[in-house]
Symmetry: C2
Subunit: 539 residues, 2 copies
């Protein structure tokens, strides 16, 4: 067995389990030829390089108990949850661990920590739930003498509730479930439910432009951000005077998505909504991807999307049916055949409301005049109950030697099908015998996201290289057709593709902002701006 | 009579008229004591300071016929349409005119013009419809040898239509009515109808974060922006890969609202909607401001706002009734008295849709369970037909010696009434015998805009100072409660208040971006960043 990483510090997931039902194992064997468990090794961690003076300076700010250099603490903040991260945590390849972990207790302490890090030449990786799948929390030190993880878990307060304006101020380290627990007594919800929900934090959502499964109804996280406190090496920056403004560029949108390279988000003022009293989830089926994506587009452009709107392609639908197994699946297949649905694409719709009648009305608005076949509420409820299982299933698949990873993009509607085909083709070419599944989970009037899952037998000789090649092929296929990331963010993994999306001038602009807020470049080296302060081009 | 400014180059307004109906004149005399026409003088314009070499360099880019230095062309781009601008155009105070007018014919020519301006030390004021009411197009030269207005009226094309994604690319100089004419054959509309509609341009909307009268339904202009081309002195910057992205900060939102100080917007990719087949406008009345603002808040928070949602306070409602006059007004007053409405606040709601049934359904959604008194469709239609008359009425009022100006802000709901009272109080203290009216025209889940109109007898001895004192008092009242501007932008007039809203670090960040894109500071001196490149603070 692999060594247990300190996951308790990251949230509330249950321990990793290696069990998959027999029919799923059989299916995997048949489809991608997996047949062996792969051995895991303990990851090696080099000794902490945090100097005594730096450690003392940090301890002077946060207290000695909140600067940790033990192996367990450092391993617990060594990278995120990408497939490559998980491989590294299982002893494959190099796992860069931070030299120490600093746990500040207030926004002011974060500013003081950053100043101490500047003084002692220590790089800082802001660390919330540690759920990045793009290397966003990799413990890279850049050109600094050492690197610490800035664990924000002590910034866990609900600071303010404004029930009239329906805004709240939450600290950056509050996890999504804790946010909901804190808001519930006030009758409010964020409605933000990404797959990382169980561990991810408010600060991380804001720093990465997170989108949740109900973003069609509640909006992307950046749509909820009314104000921010950002700690930087040159002081604190507060933004957010009003719900909307024409007072120059929207600088909140420069901080949202800054991924810890411009500062550390310590508090966020957020728009909240009344917690729904009724939620209704329902499964539908459409015949073929083209019909499915066209329907979702029409719902978006007619502005009658359900709060949750998620369309699986034929392959993802088939895998869902195969993996769930049992008599219900057989019955479903018979039903679809009888209805002459030859290429079933599953559509999950979910409506939230204050009452049954409101939800019924909204459902009627969505479905009015549409041609789609309802598969009933149990299928919708089944999706809802399993909605956070993806990471757990991945852990189980990893244990039996599967290469499994997801990636995502977004594009305008006129390019959606071309983009899907291009990414599928690139992944299949690179991985050979594999399964590639795709769904739309976020729809807009002008376009949508595409979310891919790839499954292949792990290349035991070069498991890291296997995925790196496939990921590069997919990223090249995306460039020019869509965005390199719809909601996973840039981190280290997408950084090489940023310039082709925002232009050389975009990189220059971000670098000049970084130079202003982080003049010595201590903040999150190697993320977003791959060259750090040196990214500014000579002209 | 005042000299006619070259308004034909600015759009399609009919000539300024000085006529007000007799009952309106009588009311004005009674309320604010206006009794005299004030004489207007021709504005004086100093000789053009554009050197021969600069002029030749600009002519080499755009052609000799598109570089103008005649008095008429220069006066036609001398400032915008604020009350102080209009006073200056009538010969009161200094009217800074550009040294020349340059009319580029393509986005590439704009880049080349900027390079020529850098080489010849010429400041550039991007000029669209010239409708700024905050000094955004004042011909200020900063520390440059000369200043030209960069008139974008030749960038007047619809470049691309993507009917599937429902996006279009429009050039910056396209006026709002022309945009609608270009989109109509495709069945689309922007739905963007600010009061400046008849003259204002796509580039101006984007550069100033414009909001239209139907922004509750169609969104603010920045919500429609899917992509941008920005000409800068260091080259062209293109943005906008997808409808949504997590690829770092949203740099589009740094360009939107940049007011010509970071670059010149030359093309904008915009989300469009199906042109509505049915529009229904209706007047309602609520008793008292508090009830009215609470209702609008509930509509916003329940997400059932009409596309147009506009609540007038008691004073604005009374003035509307007084100025419209006639038997209908008398009948209305009788009706309201009979219904025991003691403090009538007019609410205009307007719904757009593809069919009568859709509009009826949306109206039902808005009104379900609400207590408000309908005054019928004629009142709604009357508002709709007069919706662009504000500027014309102001011109008429100016002719008879009235000091008349508007200002606006936005705040979270919990501060709305306090903010309204504070601004009213400040204006009344400063102006003495005056009328101050207010309405909410843009509502959000977390707050709303407040739009004020002040009318007083002009101080003949110091007309400019009279308004400057009042405006400063209102701006001081706003600071700390709301934003200095909800949709009028910053320009020169609000620039002194920007730092208190975005912080010293915000000014530093914007300045560092300007330094990257406009290293010699030729772009729109004196706007947004009052200190230009020197705004970056020493620390």
């Amino acid at each position: 067995m692999t060594e247990r990483i300190d996951h308790t510090l990251r949230g509330s997931w249950t321990a990793i389990t290696g069990s998959l039902p027999p029919h799923a194992l059989k299916w995997l064997h048949k489809r991608i030829g997996v047949d062996a468990r792969t051995p895991a090794r303990s990851p090696s961690v080099s000794p902490s390089g945090l100097g005594d003076e730096a450690r003392a300076a940090l301890a002077a700010v946060v207290g000695p108990g909140h600067v940790r250099v033990d192996r367990e603490s450092r391993l617990g903040r060594a990278g995120g949850l990408s497939y490559l991260d998980l491989l590294r945590q299982r002893g494959t390849g190099e796992l860069p661990a931070p030299d120490g972990v600093v746990l500040p207790g207030s926004p002011d302490e974060v500013v003081a920590v950053l100043r101490a890090c500047v003084e002692h030449d220590v790089a800082v990786v802001p660390f919330g739930g540690g759920t990045s799948v793009v290397g966003g929390v990799a413990a890279l030190r850049g050109d600094k003498a050492a690197v610490v993880a800035l664990d924000l878990s002590r910034l866990n307060r609900l600071v303010e509730v404004d029930p009239v304006s329906r805004t709240v101020v939450l600290q950056a380290g509050v996890t999504a479930p804790r946010a909901e627990r804190l808001l519930a007594p006030h009758g409010f919800t964020l409605g933000h439910v990404p797959q990382s929900y169980e561990r991810a934090t408010i600060g991380g959502f804001a720093a990465t432009r997170s989108a949740g499964q109900a973003s069609s109804g509640y909006g992307r996280f950046e749509d909820m951000v009314e104000g921010l406190r950002l700690a930087t090496p040159v002081g604190e920056w507060r933004l957010g005077a009003a719900p909307a403004s024409a007072a120059g560029p929207d600088l909140k949108q420069l901080v949202v998505g800054s991924e810890g390279v411009l500062g550390v988000i310590t508090e966020v003022r957020l728009r909240v909504r009344r917690k729904p009293k009724v939620e209704r989830y329902e499964g539908f089926v459409l015949d073929g991807w083209e019909r499915g994506q066209r329907l979702v587009r029409e719902l978006a452009q007619d502005r009658v999307l359900a709060d949750v709107t998620r369309l699986s392609d034929v392959d993802e639908t088939a895998v869902s049916l195969a993996l769930s197994g049992g008599w219900k699946t057989a019955a479903m297949k018979g039903y679809l055949k009888a209805r002459q649905v030859s290429e079933p694409c599953l559509l999950i719709l979910g409506w939230h409301g204050a009452s049954e009648s409101e939800v019924s009305r909204r459902r009627a608005d969505t479905l009015r005049g549409r041609r789609l076949l309802s598969l009933g509420r149990p299928l919708g409820e089944a999706w809802r109950h399993g909605r956070f299982n993806g990471p757990r299933q991945r852990d189980a698949l990893m244990e039996i030697g599967v290469c499994v990873e997801t990636l995502e993009t977004a594009a305008h509607w006129s390019r959606i099908s071309e983009l899907r085909a291009a990414v599928r083709g690139a992944l299949k070419d690179a991985l050979g015998d594999c399964v590639v599944m795709c769904h739309i989970s976020h729809a807009y009037e002008t376009g949508a996201s595409l979310y891919f899952t790839a499954i292949a037998a792990r290349d035991v000789a070069d498991p890291v290289g296997q995925w790196q090649v496939a990921k590069a092929a997919a990223s090249e296929a995306i460039a020019g057709l869509g965005t390199i990331t719809h909601h996973h963010a840039v981190g280290a993994d997408h950084a090489p593709y940023l310039e082709s999306e925002i232009g050389g001038l975009g990189v220059d602009v971000l670098t000049s902002v970084k130079r202003t807020l982080d003049p010595t470049g201590v903040l999150n080296p190697g993320k977003l701006l791959p060259g750090g302060l040196a990214s500014l081009r000579d002209r």
